[in-house]
């Protein structure tokens, strides 16, 4: 009985918010929910879901560790007659009851457009990415696509910086190697916050615009307070979590739910 | 069966071996005949073990050639040697402590079919071998649980379980007492009859004179001479070996032994440790040398370990200078100025990978450091240098790695590190194990000198002549019990052996 939620990690602000929202909404609606953390390991996610099946949950909410490998877990659950809702990352090759998530590609495009606008249509841009995660790949692709429309903006460096510490080192090194950089896009809040620190420690304050993705409270604050952190594409994990629980309750009651429930990303810039 | 005395089975010519800058062998030669025991005699570090390891395929010579049974012989690993009919019992024990005696003895030669081992047959075969050799070991015991002496017997069993034309025994008796050594000598006799050539290394002169047919003397990596046993005396051999005359083996006492009325510095009463030893009592005065004799496994080392705080007594008392003490760790023992030269130098005595200097200064480190624990390197170096000179330790430099010295010289380092602490009570467990006669004499002189200065010395030894030659009194142990404390008038080999085999006085 109840809902089982399997999340990719609990050490990333986005998922912190998501978990908080799921727990809060479940409490508000008086349904039981338990959360497992896959720690970015698909094998653990599969095991977590198998354990949910043994325990006999009614509905499973999952944020897949990746879009391809989650198929097995979905198949397992469906074979056991349990409906699955995915949040944040869609599953390829399986039909789940509902997918709730940001259109990352569109979000990436928005980030690119914001960057172009901030740079006045020309300059050199670097990207901190995380190629192991499909949603990030999509948003980086969107960003590149938008930048490609501006011939005077060049992407000079793309480096991977998964944790905040890695992103800091990577950003510093990119700035060192390419002193002409005027913009950095970080795939998530951690990457962007680190990039903003790197800009300062390289003595480039005011010369490099940083744009992030996710828009959790720490990043929102930074956009307000930090002159270099000019904007962030905002996801709404609170809405996603709430919607996921509502959808789960509907499924439990046998109601129809939409197959896709996109959450439109916002663009957060400094309050003028 | 008649054996041709002239036929040569193994011939070594112009051999040299260098380890980096160290010339372990310079000009070595050897000619070994079947059915004879050929002893190699030489000081510690003369190059005996190096030569044997070359024969066994462990090292490759820098120059020189070997002919075995008429064929050129250049083993590149121990398997080649075994295949060519040569087997070796190594000086430094090379057994696997995590395995049983049987598994060690028949290592790589386990009875098997299609790669599958027949464990029952393994135990049976090993037991047969051990029985045939007449060795007192149980083949199902874990080697790690055995005493040094028992391990030595296992090593022998392992080496002799291979049918070979040439058998090398590198100091096989260095940790055996006479009765086990006797068993080995019988085995050697049987091998001789079968026409096997035996290369034998030992520092025990009596034993050499008894066993050998031919004796080759080596010095400083070079061949000196080969003699027929019947043509030489011990004194001549020693002179050839050390390059000068040596008249006596045990230095005489200059200072009289302390009177029995003097107060003991150490008094042990009813000391027991379950399953190891029981009700051990003795005392020792300053300046006294108290010998401890017993067959292997009689419990002497265990008593010493307990006195030193490495093991805990289950009953009994220990008093130092009349006051009862409880020593529960080596730290406390050292604080009470007890020193302990353990019998297993490789495992308990030395840090083989470290320099001669830091091994020597190891225990006395407090004396070489200032207020905040900073080392006084010059003082440390000078002290180490003095010990190296005093004990004539043969080492290239103070920075040489202890593990690259020869066995006897390693033993001297262990002694040196305890001498530096100026102990009040010094326990010596087999202190001359593997030490050459010349160096032995030096060590005996030092023991005498320490005693003269008032150090109480507990001398554990399995060499009866040594115990008798050095001690003022002898504690004899058998199966964990003290069977006698022999006074000088009782200190004859016959009497002491009598007590050691379990007959209480």
């Amino acid at each position: 009985e109840g809902i089982g939620a399997s999340l990719l990690t609990q050490q990333h602000p986005f998922y912190n918010e998501l978990a908080k929202a799921i727990t809060a909404e479940a409490k508000a609606k008086n349904v039981s929910v338990e959360i497992s953390i896959a720690n970015q390991d698909l094998n653990k996610q599969l095991a977590d879901i198998e354990d949910f099946i043994v325990k006999g949950v009614d509905v499973i909410i999952m944020s897949p560790v990746d879009s391809k490998g989650a198929l097995a877990a979905v198949a397992r659950a469906e074979a056991a007659g349990i409906k699955v809702i995915t949040v944040d990352v869609p599953v390829e090759g399986a039909k789940v009851a509902s997918y709730i998530g940001t259109d990352n590609y569109a979000g990436g495009v928005k980030a690119g457009e914001l960057m172009a606008e901030q740079l006045g249509g020309k300059g050199e841009v670097a990207i901190i990415d995380y190629p192991l995660v499909q949603s990030v790949v999509n948003r980086v692709n969107g960003f590149k696509e938008a930048i490609a429309k501006h011939p005077d903006i060049k992407i000079v460096s793309i480096q991977t910086g998964i944790t905040r510490a890695e992103a800091l080192a990577v950003a510093q090194n990119m700035l060192q190697a390419n002193p002409e950089i005027t913009g950095i896009f970080g795939f998530g809040d951690d990457a962007a916050l680190a990039a903003a620190v790197a800009v300062k420690s390289s003595g480039l304050t005011g010369k490099v615009k940083v744009i992030g993705f996710d828009g959790m409270p720490e990043a929102i604050k930074a956009v307000d307070a930090d002159p270099d952190f000019v904007g962030v594409i905002q996801q709404f994990p609170d809405q996603m979590g709430k919607l996921a629980v509502e959808t789960a309750i509907k499924l439990k009651a046998g109601e129809e739910v939409p197959a896709e429930q996109p959450i439109v990303p916002g663009v957060y810039t400094k309050k003028q | 069966m008649a054996i041709s005395g002239d036929k040569v089975i193994l011939e070594i010519r112009d051999m040299s071996k260098e380890f980096g800058a160290v010339k372990a062998l310079k000009t070595m030669q050897l000619s070994v005949r079947p059915g004879r025991v050929h002893t190699i005699l030489g000081e510690n570090g003369a190059g005996k073990s190096t030569l044997m390891k070359i024969l066994a395929g462990v090292y490759q010579p820098t120059t020189g050639s070997i002919v075995l049974d008429g064929q050129p012989y250049a083993p590149s690993n121990p398997q080649d040697a075994a295949r060519a009919g040569l087997t070796i019992v190594f000086q430094e024990l090379s057994l696997c402590n995590n395995m049983t005696v049987a598994e060690n003895i028949l290592a790589t030669r386990e009875p098997s079919r299609g790669g599958f081992i027949n464990d029952k047959a393994l135990v049976r075969k090993a037991a047969e071998l051990v029985k045939e050799l007449g060795l007192p070991v149980s083949v199902t015991d874990q080697v790690g649980d055995l005493s040094i002496a028992q391990r030595q017997l296992v090593e022998i069993a392992k080496g002799l379980s291979i049918d070979a034309k040439v058998v090398i025994l590198d100091e096989p008796t260095s940790s055996l007492s006479d009765s086990e050594a006797e068993i080995l000598f019988e085995i050697i006799g049987r091998l001789k009859e079968k026409g096997v050539a035996i290369i034998y290394i030992s520092h025990r002169m009596e034993e050499i004179m008894r066993l050998s047919d031919d004796i080759t003397v080596v010095r400083d990596g070079s061949y000196i001479t080969t003699r027929d046993k019947t043509e030489v005396t011990i004194a001549e051999l020693i002179a050839l070996m050390v390059g000068r005359d040596m008249n006596e083996i045990y230095p005489p006492r200059d200072v009289a032994a302390p009177a029995s009325t003097e107060k003991p510095v150490l008094a042990v009463n009813g000391l027991s440790r379950s399953e190891e030893f029981e009700n051990v009592s003795f005392d020792i005065r300053p300046g006294e040398i108290l010998g401890f004799f017993g067959l292997i496994g009689s419990g002497r080392s265990e008593v010493m370990n307990t006195l030193f705080g490495m093991a805990h007594a289950s009953a009994g008392t220990v008093a130092i200078d009349g006051a009862q003490v409880k020593i529960t760790s080596p730290v406390e023992a050292i604080e009470r100025r007890i020193g302990f030269v353990t019998e297993n130098r490789k495992e308990e005595g030395l840090v083989l990978s470290h320099s001669v200097e830091s091994n020597i200064s190891m225990v006395a480190l407090d004396g070489f450091s200032s207020l905040f624990g900073f080392l006084k390197r010059k003082r440390e170096r000078d002290a180490a240098k003095a010990e190296v000179a005093r004990l004539s330790i043969k080492t290239a430099s103070l920075d040489t790695i202890a593990g690259s010295l020869s066995g006897g010289n390693q033993q001297k380092i262990v002694l040196a590190k305890w001498l530096l602490t100026k102990p009040k009570i010094l326990i010596l467990d087999e202190p001359t194990r593997g030490v050459d006669v010349g160096a032995k004499f030096e060590i005996y002189k030092i023991i005498r000198q320490l005693a003269a200065e008032g150090t109480a010395i507990l001398l554990v030894s399995s060499e009866l002549p040594e115990v008798i030659g050095m001690s003022d009194r002898v504690v004899v142990m058998s199966e964990g019990k003290v069977t006698a404390i022999a006074d000088p008038d009782q200190m004859t080999p016959e009497k002491i052996m009598h007590f050691a085999t379990g007959f209480a006085s």
């Binding site: 094998n43 043994v54 990746d66 190629p131 192991l132 | 395995m99």
Partner: protein, 320 residues
Amino acid sequence: MSDKSAASAAFKQVMKQYGGIFLSLIVLCVIFSVTNGRFMSVANFLNILQQVSVIAIAAFGMTWVILLGEIDLSIGSIIAVAGMVGAQCFAFGMSFVPALILTIAAGALLGLANGVLTAKFLLPSFIVTVATMGIYRGMVSLPTNGAPAMIMEPSWTAIGTQSFIGIPIVIWVVAVLFLFNHILLSKTKFGRRAYLTGGNREAALYSGIKVDRLKIIIFMISGVMAAISGVLLSSRLFSAQTNAGMSYELDAIAAAVLGGTSLAGGVGTMIGTLIGALIIGVLNNGMNMLSVPYFYQLIVKGLVILVAVYLDVRSKRAKQ
């Protein structure tokens, strides 16, 4: 009657040798059974065995390596490589058997590299396999640039999803590999040589064991076991992940050490390793069943490992 007494003798033997750790396993099972009604069921038991399969098989290989006194930190990366090789084989239109052979050959090859670097170049295995852990992880990401690769080949995914006589194929694979490794280690000359070499490398050399060759073969065994783990993992997941198996080396080592394998070399058994892997599996599953929050799970898991190893060490010391 004699059957029963043989069984009880076998049980006593297991208790004697694996007392500490076996007890830990039983205690865990009892606790979880009492606190959650669904824990003790055939379905959940099969569940646990499947979940533990990847770690158990990798741990069999790791046991060999640790027994030699070496370590293999690259197995997590090899697990990922295996999945990716499989996926690429199918992408190139290969059929099941050649794909499987290539995958296992890849594991053997990567193990060979570890072994040669350790045995022939005389580098410490810890550093060799820290390095190859990175190298192999980098390699696995090249074909897809880090993205996962789907595997839709039914014969491959069948391994992870189908059953044979009512028991999931995955469990059969674990059982067969357990027997294989157990027999190889405890009944053959090869196994005996591994023990001897792990106990005293020098003595092994003197006894004429080809220590280098042995070491290389054992790293290859480790690579092959990791590759088979990778096959199971990718078949269970219908896909190859470039970050698959990350840090599984630590779980595999923990399983082996829990099972009494000594990191100093020379001591260890496959039965012990299997029990060790089961402890980890039961713990993960049981805590999930009790809905223990993730971070508390980390803490409890660490504590249980400490307690289990402690009990084992103590029971072994008491015996002496």
